[in-house]
Amino acid sequence: MQLLMNAILTGALYATLASGFSILYGVMNVMNVAHGTFIMIGAYISYAMFITFGIDTFISLPICGMGLFIIGFVFYRYIFSRIMGVGIFMGMIVTYGFSMLLENIVLLIYASDYRGISAAYSGKYFTFLNINIPYIRLGVFLIACLITIILYLFMRYTKLGKTISAVSLNRYAASLVGIDINFVFNLTFAIGAALAGIAGGLLASVYIIYPQMGVSVLFKSFVVAVLGGLGNMTGVFIGGLLLALFEVLGAHILGPDYFQLIGFLLMVLVLCIKPEGVLGKKFFGAVTSKEIGTE
Protein backbone atom coordinates (compact mmCIF):
# COMPACT_ATOMS: atom_id res chain seq x y z
CA MET A 1 0.00 0.00 0.00
CA GLN A 2 2.86 2.31 0.76
CA LEU A 3 4.04 1.68 -2.74
CA LEU A 4 0.72 2.69 -4.14
CA MET A 5 0.77 5.91 -2.24
CA ASN A 6 4.28 6.66 -3.38
CA ALA A 7 3.24 5.99 -6.91
CA ILE A 8 0.30 8.33 -6.72
CA LEU A 9 2.31 11.12 -5.20
CA THR A 10 5.08 10.80 -7.72
CA GLY A 11 2.66 10.30 -10.55
CA ALA A 12 1.15 13.72 -10.22
CA LEU A 13 4.59 15.23 -10.31
CA TYR A 14 5.44 13.35 -13.43
CA ALA A 15 2.22 14.53 -14.96
CA THR A 16 3.13 18.15 -14.36
CA LEU A 17 6.54 17.55 -15.82
CA ALA A 18 5.02 16.20 -18.94
CA SER A 19 2.20 18.65 -19.38
CA GLY A 20 4.38 21.32 -20.90
CA PHE A 21 5.82 18.87 -23.36
CA SER A 22 2.42 17.55 -24.22
CA ILE A 23 0.93 20.95 -24.92
CA LEU A 24 3.81 21.88 -27.11
CA TYR A 25 3.45 18.79 -29.18
CA GLY A 26 -0.29 18.93 -29.30
CA VAL A 27 -0.51 22.47 -30.49
CA MET A 28 2.61 22.96 -32.51
CA ASN A 29 3.63 19.45 -33.38
CA VAL A 30 7.15 19.91 -32.21
CA MET A 31 9.13 17.89 -29.79
CA ASN A 32 10.81 20.27 -27.49
CA VAL A 33 13.94 18.49 -26.41
CA ALA A 34 14.82 21.53 -24.43
CA HIS A 35 11.89 20.73 -22.19
CA GLY A 36 14.11 18.88 -19.77
CA THR A 37 16.43 21.83 -19.68
CA PHE A 38 13.56 24.18 -19.02
CA ILE A 39 12.59 22.04 -16.10
CA MET A 40 16.13 22.10 -14.89
CA ILE A 41 16.20 25.87 -15.02
CA GLY A 42 12.95 26.02 -13.12
CA ALA A 43 14.49 23.84 -10.48
CA TYR A 44 17.54 26.05 -10.29
CA ILE A 45 15.47 29.20 -10.04
CA SER A 46 13.69 27.67 -7.14
CA TYR A 47 16.97 26.71 -5.60
CA ALA A 48 18.41 30.16 -6.14
CA MET A 49 15.37 31.77 -4.58
CA PHE A 50 15.72 29.52 -1.62
CA ILE A 51 19.39 30.08 -1.11
CA THR A 52 19.50 33.78 -1.72
CA PHE A 53 16.25 34.97 -0.32
CA GLY A 54 15.08 32.12 1.79
CA ILE A 55 11.86 31.89 -0.14
CA ASP A 56 10.07 28.68 0.33
CA THR A 57 9.96 26.48 -2.71
CA PHE A 58 6.22 26.48 -2.98
CA ILE A 59 6.05 30.20 -2.89
CA SER A 60 8.72 30.60 -5.50
CA LEU A 61 6.76 28.55 -7.99
CA PRO A 62 5.13 31.50 -9.72
CA ILE A 63 8.56 33.05 -10.10
CA CYS A 64 9.82 29.92 -11.76
CA GLY A 65 6.82 29.90 -13.99
CA MET A 66 7.24 33.49 -14.99
CA GLY A 67 10.94 33.22 -15.56
CA LEU A 68 10.50 30.33 -17.89
CA PHE A 69 7.58 32.02 -19.54
CA ILE A 70 9.83 34.86 -20.52
CA ILE A 71 12.58 32.57 -21.70
CA GLY A 72 10.16 30.54 -23.75
CA PHE A 73 8.52 33.58 -25.22
CA VAL A 74 11.76 35.16 -26.28
CA PHE A 75 13.13 31.94 -27.64
CA TYR A 76 10.09 31.36 -29.74
CA ARG A 77 9.85 34.86 -31.03
CA TYR A 78 13.38 35.21 -32.24
CA ILE A 79 14.61 31.78 -32.98
CA PHE A 80 12.03 29.13 -33.15
CA SER A 81 9.53 30.92 -35.31
CA ARG A 82 12.00 30.90 -38.15
CA ILE A 83 12.02 27.20 -38.42
CA MET A 84 8.42 26.37 -37.78
CA GLY A 85 7.30 24.19 -40.58
CA VAL A 86 10.65 23.78 -42.20
CA GLY A 87 10.81 20.16 -41.35
CA ILE A 88 9.79 18.03 -38.44
CA PHE A 89 13.26 17.42 -37.15
CA MET A 90 14.54 20.91 -37.41
CA GLY A 91 12.48 21.95 -34.45
CA MET A 92 13.94 19.20 -32.40
CA ILE A 93 17.46 20.08 -33.30
CA VAL A 94 17.08 23.76 -32.71
CA THR A 95 15.66 23.09 -29.31
CA TYR A 96 18.56 20.80 -28.71
CA GLY A 97 20.97 23.55 -29.51
CA PHE A 98 19.10 25.89 -27.26
CA SER A 99 19.14 23.39 -24.44
CA MET A 100 22.87 23.13 -24.70
CA LEU A 101 23.18 26.86 -24.48
CA LEU A 102 21.00 26.98 -21.41
CA GLU A 103 22.77 24.10 -19.77
CA ASN A 104 26.07 25.76 -20.24
CA ILE A 105 24.83 28.96 -18.67
CA VAL A 106 23.67 27.09 -15.61
CA LEU A 107 26.93 25.19 -15.50
CA LEU A 108 28.80 28.44 -15.48
CA ILE A 109 26.83 29.77 -12.59
CA TYR A 110 26.44 26.71 -10.48
CA ALA A 111 29.06 24.20 -11.51
CA SER A 112 28.37 20.58 -11.92
CA ASP A 113 27.59 19.43 -8.43
CA TYR A 114 24.43 18.21 -6.93
CA ARG A 115 22.32 20.62 -5.02
CA GLY A 116 19.40 20.05 -2.79
CA ILE A 117 16.92 22.06 -0.89
CA SER A 118 15.83 21.18 2.57
CA ALA A 119 13.03 23.15 4.01
CA ALA A 120 12.06 23.15 7.63
CA TYR A 121 9.37 20.59 7.12
CA SER A 122 11.47 18.37 4.90
CA GLY A 123 11.60 15.17 6.77
CA LYS A 124 8.30 15.24 8.47
CA TYR A 125 5.45 13.05 7.50
CA PHE A 126 2.25 11.87 8.92
CA THR A 127 1.00 8.36 9.07
CA PHE A 128 -2.34 7.35 7.86
CA LEU A 129 -3.54 3.78 7.86
CA ASN A 130 -0.02 2.51 8.19
CA ILE A 131 1.26 4.51 5.24
CA ASN A 132 3.77 7.29 5.57
CA ILE A 133 3.05 10.45 3.69
CA PRO A 134 5.74 13.08 3.76
CA TYR A 135 4.33 16.58 3.93
CA ILE A 136 6.42 17.83 1.10
CA ARG A 137 5.25 15.17 -1.24
CA LEU A 138 1.71 15.86 -0.29
CA GLY A 139 2.21 19.50 -1.07
CA VAL A 140 3.77 18.65 -4.39
CA PHE A 141 0.95 16.33 -5.17
CA LEU A 142 -1.70 18.87 -4.36
CA ILE A 143 -0.09 21.54 -6.42
CA ALA A 144 0.42 19.18 -9.32
CA CYS A 145 -3.23 18.26 -9.25
CA LEU A 146 -4.17 21.89 -8.96
CA ILE A 147 -2.13 22.77 -11.99
CA THR A 148 -3.58 19.99 -14.05
CA ILE A 149 -7.06 21.07 -13.11
CA ILE A 150 -6.33 24.70 -13.86
CA LEU A 151 -4.87 23.77 -17.22
CA TYR A 152 -7.83 21.66 -18.08
CA LEU A 153 -10.26 24.40 -17.18
CA PHE A 154 -8.17 26.93 -19.00
CA MET A 155 -8.14 24.93 -22.18
CA ARG A 156 -11.79 24.20 -22.04
CA TYR A 157 -13.45 27.31 -20.81
CA THR A 158 -11.41 30.42 -21.29
CA LYS A 159 -11.27 32.24 -24.57
CA LEU A 160 -7.51 31.93 -24.80
CA GLY A 161 -7.62 28.31 -23.93
CA LYS A 162 -10.18 27.60 -26.53
CA THR A 163 -8.12 29.44 -29.07
CA ILE A 164 -5.17 27.28 -28.28
CA SER A 165 -7.24 24.15 -28.49
CA ALA A 166 -8.58 25.26 -31.81
CA VAL A 167 -5.11 25.66 -33.20
CA SER A 168 -4.11 22.30 -31.88
CA LEU A 169 -6.99 20.61 -33.60
CA ASN A 170 -6.52 22.09 -36.99
CA ARG A 171 -4.26 24.99 -37.51
CA TYR A 172 -5.33 25.82 -41.00
CA ALA A 173 -8.96 26.01 -40.10
CA ALA A 174 -8.05 28.11 -37.11
CA SER A 175 -6.24 30.60 -39.28
CA LEU A 176 -9.22 30.71 -41.58
CA VAL A 177 -11.38 31.74 -38.70
CA GLY A 178 -9.07 34.60 -38.01
CA ILE A 179 -6.85 33.32 -35.28
CA ASP A 180 -3.35 34.66 -35.39
CA ILE A 181 -1.46 31.42 -35.39
CA ASN A 182 1.96 32.83 -34.84
CA PHE A 183 0.82 34.61 -31.73
CA VAL A 184 -0.85 31.48 -30.45
CA PHE A 185 2.27 29.47 -31.07
CA ASN A 186 4.34 32.05 -29.32
CA LEU A 187 2.04 32.01 -26.35
CA THR A 188 1.78 28.27 -26.24
CA PHE A 189 5.48 27.84 -26.30
CA ALA A 190 5.79 30.29 -23.46
CA ILE A 191 3.08 28.52 -21.49
CA GLY A 192 4.72 25.18 -22.10
CA ALA A 193 7.98 26.60 -20.86
CA ALA A 194 6.27 28.09 -17.83
CA LEU A 195 4.75 24.74 -17.01
CA ALA A 196 8.16 23.22 -17.23
CA GLY A 197 9.43 25.90 -14.91
CA ILE A 198 6.79 25.22 -12.33
CA ALA A 199 7.37 21.52 -12.60
CA GLY A 200 11.04 22.16 -12.08
CA GLY A 201 10.30 24.15 -8.99
CA LEU A 202 8.24 21.30 -7.64
CA LEU A 203 10.95 18.88 -8.51
CA ALA A 204 13.53 20.88 -6.64
CA SER A 205 11.66 20.44 -3.41
CA VAL A 206 11.77 16.69 -3.47
CA TYR A 207 14.73 15.69 -5.56
CA ILE A 208 18.34 16.57 -5.93
CA ILE A 209 19.15 18.80 -8.84
CA TYR A 210 22.15 19.09 -11.09
CA PRO A 211 22.68 20.73 -14.46
CA GLN A 212 22.60 17.53 -16.44
CA MET A 213 19.29 16.37 -15.10
CA GLY A 214 17.61 17.74 -18.17
CA VAL A 215 18.07 14.54 -20.11
CA SER A 216 16.54 12.08 -17.72
CA VAL A 217 13.70 14.41 -16.91
CA LEU A 218 13.06 14.92 -20.59
CA PHE A 219 12.90 11.23 -21.14
CA LYS A 220 10.46 10.78 -18.29
CA SER A 221 8.23 13.57 -19.57
CA PHE A 222 8.29 12.05 -22.96
CA VAL A 223 7.30 8.65 -21.69
CA VAL A 224 4.49 10.13 -19.66
CA ALA A 225 3.26 12.28 -22.49
CA VAL A 226 3.31 9.40 -24.92
CA LEU A 227 1.62 7.08 -22.48
CA GLY A 228 -1.16 9.48 -21.86
CA GLY A 229 -1.49 10.69 -25.37
CA LEU A 230 0.18 13.82 -26.58
CA GLY A 231 -1.84 16.97 -26.56
CA ASN A 232 -4.36 15.87 -24.03
CA MET A 233 -4.33 17.15 -20.47
CA THR A 234 -6.25 14.39 -18.78
CA GLY A 235 -4.21 11.90 -20.67
CA VAL A 236 -1.03 13.37 -19.34
CA PHE A 237 -2.26 13.01 -15.82
CA ILE A 238 -3.15 9.40 -16.34
CA GLY A 239 0.13 8.85 -18.08
CA GLY A 240 1.98 10.24 -15.11
CA LEU A 241 0.19 7.97 -12.73
CA LEU A 242 0.74 4.98 -14.97
CA LEU A 243 4.42 5.55 -15.26
CA ALA A 244 4.84 6.05 -11.55
CA LEU A 245 2.85 2.92 -10.91
CA PHE A 246 4.90 0.82 -13.26
CA GLU A 247 8.14 2.20 -11.96
CA VAL A 248 7.27 1.48 -8.40
CA LEU A 249 5.99 -1.97 -9.13
CA GLY A 250 8.89 -2.76 -11.36
CA ALA A 251 11.44 -1.56 -8.88
CA HIS A 252 9.76 -3.60 -6.22
CA ILE A 253 9.77 -6.76 -8.23
CA LEU A 254 12.94 -6.52 -10.19
CA GLY A 255 15.14 -4.39 -8.08
CA PRO A 256 16.11 -0.74 -8.20
CA ASP A 257 18.63 -1.04 -11.01
CA TYR A 258 15.97 -1.33 -13.58
CA PHE A 259 14.23 1.95 -12.95
CA GLN A 260 15.05 3.67 -16.19
CA LEU A 261 14.79 0.54 -18.20
CA ILE A 262 11.22 0.01 -17.19
CA GLY A 263 10.16 3.40 -18.37
CA PHE A 264 11.89 2.85 -21.63
CA LEU A 265 10.43 -0.60 -22.20
CA LEU A 266 6.99 0.64 -21.35
CA MET A 267 7.29 3.47 -23.76
CA VAL A 268 8.55 1.33 -26.59
CA LEU A 269 5.73 -1.06 -25.97
CA VAL A 270 3.16 1.67 -26.06
CA LEU A 271 4.66 3.21 -29.13
CA CYS A 272 4.56 -0.03 -30.99
CA ILE A 273 1.10 -0.95 -30.01
CA LYS A 274 -0.78 2.25 -29.70
CA PRO A 275 1.14 5.38 -30.55
CA GLU A 276 -1.71 7.59 -29.54
CA GLY A 277 -1.32 6.60 -25.97
CA VAL A 278 -4.21 6.05 -23.66
CA LEU A 279 -6.22 9.08 -24.51
CA GLY A 280 -4.41 10.88 -27.24
CA LYS A 281 -6.29 12.10 -30.21
CA LYS A 282 -3.51 13.63 -32.20
CA PHE A 283 -2.03 10.92 -34.28
CA PHE A 284 1.18 11.75 -35.96
CA GLY A 285 -0.19 10.78 -39.29
CA ALA A 286 -2.62 13.64 -39.05
CA VAL A 287 0.22 15.95 -39.85
CA THR A 288 0.49 15.28 -43.51
CA SER A 289 3.58 15.43 -45.58
CA LYS A 290 2.47 18.72 -47.04
CA GLU A 291 3.45 20.30 -43.83
CA ILE A 292 6.67 18.49 -43.40
CA GLY A 293 9.10 20.41 -45.49
CA THR A 294 11.76 18.69 -47.44
CA GLU A 295 15.13 18.78 -45.82
Binding site: I79, R82, I83, S99, L101, L107, Q260, V268, G285
Partner: protein, 322 residues
Amino acid sequence: MKLFLKYFEDTKLIVEKHKWLFISLFIIIMVLFPLYTSNYLIRMFSSIFMYACLGIAMNIMLGYIGYAAFGNVAFFGLSAYITMVLLNKTNIPLLIIFIIAALVSAMYAIILGFPILRIRGHYFAIATLGIAEGTREVMSILEITGGGKGISAPILEMSINSIYRIVYYSFFGLTILSLFACYYILKKPFGYALRTIRGDEDVAAGVGINTTYYKVAAWGISAFIAGLTGSIFAFWMGYIDPVSVFDGMINVKFTVVALLGGLGSVIGPLIGSLLFELISVFIWEKFLDIHLAVLGIIIMITIIFLPRGIMQFLKPQRRHTK
Protein backbone atom coordinates in the same frame (compact mmCIF):
# COMPACT_ATOMS: atom_id res chain seq x y z
CA MET B 1 31.39 39.95 -56.71
CA LYS B 2 29.46 38.47 -59.57
CA LEU B 3 32.68 37.55 -61.21
CA PHE B 4 33.79 35.77 -58.14
CA LEU B 5 30.58 33.81 -57.96
CA LYS B 6 30.88 32.79 -61.54
CA TYR B 7 34.43 31.74 -60.91
CA PHE B 8 33.29 29.75 -57.93
CA GLU B 9 30.60 28.06 -59.96
CA ASP B 10 33.03 27.16 -62.65
CA THR B 11 35.45 25.73 -60.14
CA LYS B 12 32.70 23.62 -58.71
CA LEU B 13 31.85 22.31 -62.14
CA ILE B 14 35.44 21.46 -62.85
CA VAL B 15 35.78 19.64 -59.59
CA GLU B 16 32.61 17.78 -60.25
CA LYS B 17 33.72 16.73 -63.66
CA HIS B 18 37.04 15.45 -62.51
CA LYS B 19 35.74 14.07 -59.27
CA TRP B 20 37.79 10.97 -59.29
CA LEU B 21 41.00 12.85 -59.77
CA PHE B 22 40.37 14.99 -56.78
CA ILE B 23 39.24 12.10 -54.70
CA SER B 24 42.37 10.14 -55.48
CA LEU B 25 44.46 13.17 -54.68
CA PHE B 26 42.70 13.53 -51.42
CA ILE B 27 43.21 9.90 -50.57
CA ILE B 28 46.87 10.08 -51.37
CA ILE B 29 47.35 13.17 -49.29
CA MET B 30 45.53 11.70 -46.38
CA VAL B 31 47.43 8.49 -46.53
CA LEU B 32 50.77 10.23 -46.51
CA PHE B 33 49.60 12.67 -43.94
CA PRO B 34 50.65 10.84 -40.77
CA LEU B 35 54.21 10.53 -41.92
CA TYR B 36 54.81 14.21 -41.75
CA THR B 37 52.76 15.57 -38.95
CA SER B 38 52.64 15.63 -35.22
CA ASN B 39 50.72 13.22 -33.11
CA TYR B 40 48.32 15.94 -32.17
CA LEU B 41 47.25 16.48 -35.72
CA ILE B 42 46.98 12.79 -36.29
CA ARG B 43 44.68 12.50 -33.35
CA MET B 44 42.65 15.41 -34.52
CA PHE B 45 42.19 13.90 -37.91
CA SER B 46 41.40 10.53 -36.44
CA SER B 47 38.65 12.26 -34.58
CA ILE B 48 37.50 13.98 -37.74
CA PHE B 49 37.30 10.71 -39.58
CA MET B 50 35.56 9.06 -36.69
CA TYR B 51 32.81 11.62 -36.65
CA ALA B 52 32.70 11.52 -40.41
CA CYS B 53 31.93 7.82 -40.22
CA LEU B 54 29.30 8.36 -37.60
CA GLY B 55 27.91 11.19 -39.65
CA ILE B 56 27.71 8.90 -42.63
CA ALA B 57 25.89 6.32 -40.58
CA MET B 58 23.50 9.02 -39.45
CA ASN B 59 23.16 10.29 -42.98
CA ILE B 60 21.94 6.95 -44.17
CA MET B 61 19.14 7.11 -41.71
CA LEU B 62 18.29 10.76 -41.61
CA GLY B 63 19.34 11.80 -45.08
CA TYR B 64 18.34 8.88 -47.19
CA ILE B 65 15.41 7.39 -45.42
CA GLY B 66 14.34 10.38 -43.44
CA TYR B 67 14.13 8.63 -40.11
CA ALA B 68 15.89 10.46 -37.36
CA ALA B 69 17.83 7.75 -35.63
CA PHE B 70 19.08 9.87 -32.81
CA GLY B 71 20.00 6.88 -30.80
CA ASN B 72 22.67 5.53 -33.09
CA VAL B 73 25.12 5.96 -30.30
CA ALA B 74 23.64 2.76 -28.90
CA PHE B 75 25.37 0.82 -31.63
CA PHE B 76 28.55 2.72 -31.18
CA GLY B 77 28.63 1.89 -27.51
CA LEU B 78 27.45 -1.67 -27.84
CA SER B 79 30.13 -2.41 -30.33
CA ALA B 80 32.75 -0.73 -28.19
CA TYR B 81 31.77 -2.91 -25.28
CA ILE B 82 31.79 -6.09 -27.28
CA THR B 83 35.19 -5.20 -28.60
CA MET B 84 36.50 -4.72 -25.11
CA VAL B 85 35.05 -7.92 -23.81
CA LEU B 86 36.41 -9.89 -26.72
CA LEU B 87 39.78 -8.27 -26.39
CA ASN B 88 39.93 -9.21 -22.78
CA LYS B 89 38.69 -12.69 -22.87
CA THR B 90 39.74 -14.12 -26.17
CA ASN B 91 42.62 -14.16 -28.53
CA ILE B 92 40.83 -13.42 -31.73
CA PRO B 93 42.78 -11.13 -34.02
CA LEU B 94 41.84 -7.49 -33.86
CA LEU B 95 40.27 -7.09 -37.24
CA ILE B 96 37.99 -10.02 -36.71
CA ILE B 97 36.93 -8.61 -33.39
CA PHE B 98 35.98 -5.37 -35.06
CA ILE B 99 33.89 -7.15 -37.59
CA ILE B 100 32.20 -9.36 -35.04
CA ALA B 101 31.34 -6.41 -32.86
CA ALA B 102 29.96 -4.47 -35.78
CA LEU B 103 27.95 -7.45 -36.91
CA VAL B 104 26.46 -7.83 -33.47
CA SER B 105 25.49 -4.18 -33.53
CA ALA B 106 23.90 -4.66 -36.90
CA MET B 107 22.01 -7.66 -35.60
CA TYR B 108 20.85 -5.62 -32.67
CA ALA B 109 19.59 -2.97 -35.01
CA ILE B 110 17.84 -5.49 -37.18
CA ILE B 111 16.16 -7.22 -34.29
CA LEU B 112 15.10 -3.99 -32.69
CA GLY B 113 14.31 -2.59 -36.06
CA PHE B 114 11.26 -4.64 -36.72
CA PRO B 115 9.18 -3.24 -33.93
CA ILE B 116 10.81 0.14 -33.66
CA LEU B 117 10.83 1.04 -37.31
CA ARG B 118 7.10 0.92 -37.39
CA ILE B 119 7.10 4.02 -35.33
CA ARG B 120 7.33 7.12 -37.36
CA GLY B 121 8.78 10.54 -37.21
CA HIS B 122 9.23 12.16 -33.85
CA TYR B 123 8.27 9.09 -31.97
CA PHE B 124 10.92 7.10 -33.71
CA ALA B 125 13.56 9.63 -32.85
CA ILE B 126 12.86 9.48 -29.18
CA ALA B 127 12.36 5.76 -29.26
CA THR B 128 15.91 5.47 -30.52
CA LEU B 129 17.05 7.81 -27.79
CA GLY B 130 15.33 5.48 -25.41
CA ILE B 131 17.20 2.58 -26.91
CA ALA B 132 20.45 4.37 -26.37
CA GLU B 133 19.58 5.00 -22.75
CA GLY B 134 18.32 1.50 -22.29
CA THR B 135 21.40 -0.06 -23.76
CA ARG B 136 23.52 2.08 -21.51
CA GLU B 137 21.58 0.90 -18.50
CA VAL B 138 21.93 -2.69 -19.48
CA MET B 139 25.64 -2.28 -19.98
CA SER B 140 26.09 -0.80 -16.58
CA ILE B 141 24.14 -3.57 -14.95
CA LEU B 142 25.67 -6.65 -16.44
CA GLU B 143 28.59 -8.19 -14.67
CA ILE B 144 30.50 -9.11 -17.74
CA THR B 145 30.76 -5.56 -18.86
CA GLY B 146 32.16 -4.33 -15.63
CA GLY B 147 29.10 -2.47 -14.51
CA GLY B 148 29.50 1.21 -13.94
CA LYS B 149 33.23 0.98 -13.66
CA GLY B 150 33.88 0.16 -17.25
CA ILE B 151 36.42 -2.08 -18.86
CA SER B 152 39.96 -1.60 -19.91
CA ALA B 153 41.72 -3.31 -22.69
CA PRO B 154 44.76 -5.44 -22.12
CA ILE B 155 48.00 -3.58 -22.48
CA LEU B 156 49.41 -3.75 -25.93
CA GLU B 157 53.08 -3.87 -26.67
CA MET B 158 53.05 -1.14 -29.19
CA SER B 159 54.35 2.34 -29.09
CA ILE B 160 51.99 5.24 -28.86
CA ASN B 161 52.91 6.30 -32.33
CA SER B 162 51.96 3.01 -33.86
CA ILE B 163 48.67 2.98 -32.07
CA TYR B 164 47.84 6.45 -33.26
CA ARG B 165 48.71 5.54 -36.76
CA ILE B 166 46.72 2.36 -36.69
CA VAL B 167 43.72 4.22 -35.39
CA TYR B 168 44.13 6.93 -37.95
CA TYR B 169 44.32 4.54 -40.83
CA SER B 170 41.45 2.51 -39.51
CA PHE B 171 39.19 5.47 -39.27
CA PHE B 172 40.36 6.78 -42.56
CA GLY B 173 39.85 3.45 -44.23
CA LEU B 174 36.44 3.16 -42.71
CA THR B 175 35.50 6.60 -43.91
CA ILE B 176 36.55 5.83 -47.44
CA LEU B 177 34.76 2.52 -47.41
CA SER B 178 31.62 4.03 -46.03
CA LEU B 179 31.73 6.83 -48.53
CA PHE B 180 32.01 4.36 -51.32
CA ALA B 181 29.21 2.34 -49.84
CA CYS B 182 27.04 5.42 -49.69
CA TYR B 183 27.90 6.41 -53.19
CA TYR B 184 27.04 2.96 -54.38
CA ILE B 185 23.81 2.96 -52.51
CA LEU B 186 22.87 6.26 -54.04
CA LYS B 187 23.20 4.96 -57.53
CA LYS B 188 21.59 1.61 -57.07
CA PRO B 189 17.90 0.86 -56.77
CA PHE B 190 18.43 0.39 -53.07
CA GLY B 191 19.17 4.06 -52.70
CA TYR B 192 16.22 5.04 -54.79
CA ALA B 193 13.96 2.96 -52.65
CA LEU B 194 15.31 4.62 -49.55
CA ARG B 195 14.75 8.05 -50.90
CA THR B 196 11.27 7.20 -52.00
CA ILE B 197 10.52 6.14 -48.48
CA ARG B 198 11.82 9.42 -47.30
CA GLY B 199 9.63 11.31 -49.69
CA ASP B 200 6.43 9.67 -48.63
CA GLU B 201 6.38 6.32 -46.99
CA ASP B 202 2.83 5.41 -47.80
CA VAL B 203 3.30 6.18 -51.42
CA ALA B 204 6.42 4.08 -51.42
CA ALA B 205 4.49 1.20 -50.00
CA GLY B 206 1.82 1.80 -52.56
CA VAL B 207 4.31 1.61 -55.38
CA GLY B 208 5.37 -1.78 -54.16
CA ILE B 209 8.46 -1.10 -52.15
CA ASN B 210 8.76 -3.35 -49.17
CA THR B 211 9.35 -0.54 -46.76
CA THR B 212 10.09 -2.75 -43.80
CA TYR B 213 12.88 -4.53 -45.60
CA TYR B 214 14.52 -1.35 -46.72
CA LYS B 215 14.16 0.38 -43.41
CA VAL B 216 15.60 -2.51 -41.50
CA ALA B 217 18.40 -2.97 -44.01
CA ALA B 218 19.29 0.69 -43.87
CA TRP B 219 19.33 0.70 -40.13
CA GLY B 220 21.42 -2.43 -40.17
CA ILE B 221 23.97 -0.80 -42.42
CA SER B 222 23.94 2.32 -40.36
CA ALA B 223 24.45 0.29 -37.22
CA PHE B 224 27.24 -1.66 -38.82
CA ILE B 225 29.15 1.47 -39.67
CA ALA B 226 28.49 2.97 -36.29
CA GLY B 227 29.53 -0.31 -34.76
CA LEU B 228 32.83 -0.45 -36.58
CA THR B 229 33.47 3.07 -35.51
CA GLY B 230 32.74 2.10 -31.96
CA SER B 231 35.14 -0.80 -32.09
CA ILE B 232 37.96 1.31 -33.35
CA PHE B 233 37.14 3.86 -30.73
CA ALA B 234 37.33 1.25 -28.02
CA PHE B 235 40.69 0.17 -29.27
CA TRP B 236 41.84 3.75 -29.33
CA MET B 237 40.73 4.68 -25.87
CA GLY B 238 41.83 1.57 -24.07
CA TYR B 239 39.20 2.12 -21.44
CA ILE B 240 35.49 2.60 -21.71
CA ASP B 241 32.63 3.00 -19.36
CA PRO B 242 28.91 3.42 -19.89
CA VAL B 243 28.95 7.14 -19.58
CA SER B 244 31.67 7.83 -22.07
CA VAL B 245 30.61 5.49 -24.77
CA PHE B 246 26.93 6.16 -24.72
CA ASP B 247 27.48 9.79 -24.31
CA GLY B 248 24.75 12.05 -25.52
CA MET B 249 27.42 14.40 -26.75
CA ILE B 250 28.56 11.89 -29.32
CA ASN B 251 24.99 11.70 -30.48
CA VAL B 252 24.77 15.41 -30.81
CA LYS B 253 28.07 15.64 -32.55
CA PHE B 254 27.30 13.24 -35.27
CA THR B 255 23.87 14.67 -35.81
CA VAL B 256 25.37 18.10 -36.17
CA VAL B 257 28.04 16.75 -38.46
CA ALA B 258 25.46 15.11 -40.67
CA LEU B 259 23.34 18.24 -40.72
CA LEU B 260 26.22 20.57 -41.26
CA GLY B 261 27.40 18.52 -44.13
CA GLY B 262 24.05 18.32 -45.72
CA LEU B 263 21.71 15.40 -45.56
CA GLY B 264 21.50 13.15 -48.49
CA SER B 265 24.84 14.05 -49.92
CA VAL B 266 27.66 11.59 -49.93
CA ILE B 267 30.64 13.67 -49.00
CA GLY B 268 28.61 15.93 -46.79
CA PRO B 269 29.36 14.27 -43.47
CA LEU B 270 33.06 14.31 -44.15
CA ILE B 271 33.11 18.00 -44.87
CA GLY B 272 30.76 18.59 -42.03
CA SER B 273 33.05 16.74 -39.69
CA LEU B 274 36.06 18.66 -40.90
CA LEU B 275 34.41 21.99 -40.41
CA PHE B 276 32.99 21.00 -37.12
CA GLU B 277 36.23 19.74 -35.66
CA LEU B 278 38.06 22.81 -36.78
CA ILE B 279 35.50 25.06 -35.19
CA SER B 280 35.44 22.89 -32.08
CA VAL B 281 39.16 22.95 -31.63
CA PHE B 282 39.16 26.66 -32.07
CA ILE B 283 36.44 27.04 -29.50
CA TRP B 284 38.14 24.73 -27.05
CA GLU B 285 41.23 26.81 -27.17
CA LYS B 286 39.62 30.12 -26.65
CA PHE B 287 36.36 29.54 -24.87
CA LEU B 288 36.62 26.46 -22.76
CA ASP B 289 33.86 27.23 -20.32
CA ILE B 290 31.31 28.08 -22.82
CA HIS B 291 32.06 25.54 -25.48
CA LEU B 292 28.79 23.82 -24.88
CA ALA B 293 26.95 27.06 -25.36
CA VAL B 294 28.85 27.86 -28.51
CA LEU B 295 28.09 24.41 -29.82
CA GLY B 296 24.45 25.00 -29.14
CA ILE B 297 24.56 28.32 -30.90
CA ILE B 298 26.27 26.76 -33.88
CA ILE B 299 23.56 24.17 -34.05
CA MET B 300 20.89 26.79 -33.96
CA ILE B 301 22.56 28.92 -36.58
CA THR B 302 23.11 25.92 -38.80
CA ILE B 303 19.50 24.98 -38.68
CA ILE B 304 18.21 28.42 -39.30
CA PHE B 305 20.51 29.49 -42.04
CA LEU B 306 21.80 26.30 -43.53
CA PRO B 307 19.02 23.80 -43.44
CA ARG B 308 20.59 21.89 -46.23
CA GLY B 309 24.01 21.97 -44.80
CA ILE B 310 27.17 23.26 -46.26
CA MET B 311 26.76 21.26 -49.40
CA GLN B 312 24.31 23.91 -50.48
CA PHE B 313 27.27 26.03 -51.31
CA LEU B 314 29.49 23.36 -52.64
CA LYS B 315 27.33 21.58 -55.09
CA PRO B 316 27.30 23.27 -58.45
CA GLN B 317 23.98 24.70 -59.46
CA ARG B 318 22.28 22.76 -62.14
CA ARG B 319 21.26 25.16 -64.80
CA HIS B 320 18.00 23.54 -65.65
CA THR B 321 16.59 23.72 -62.17
CA LYS B 322 16.93 27.47 -61.98
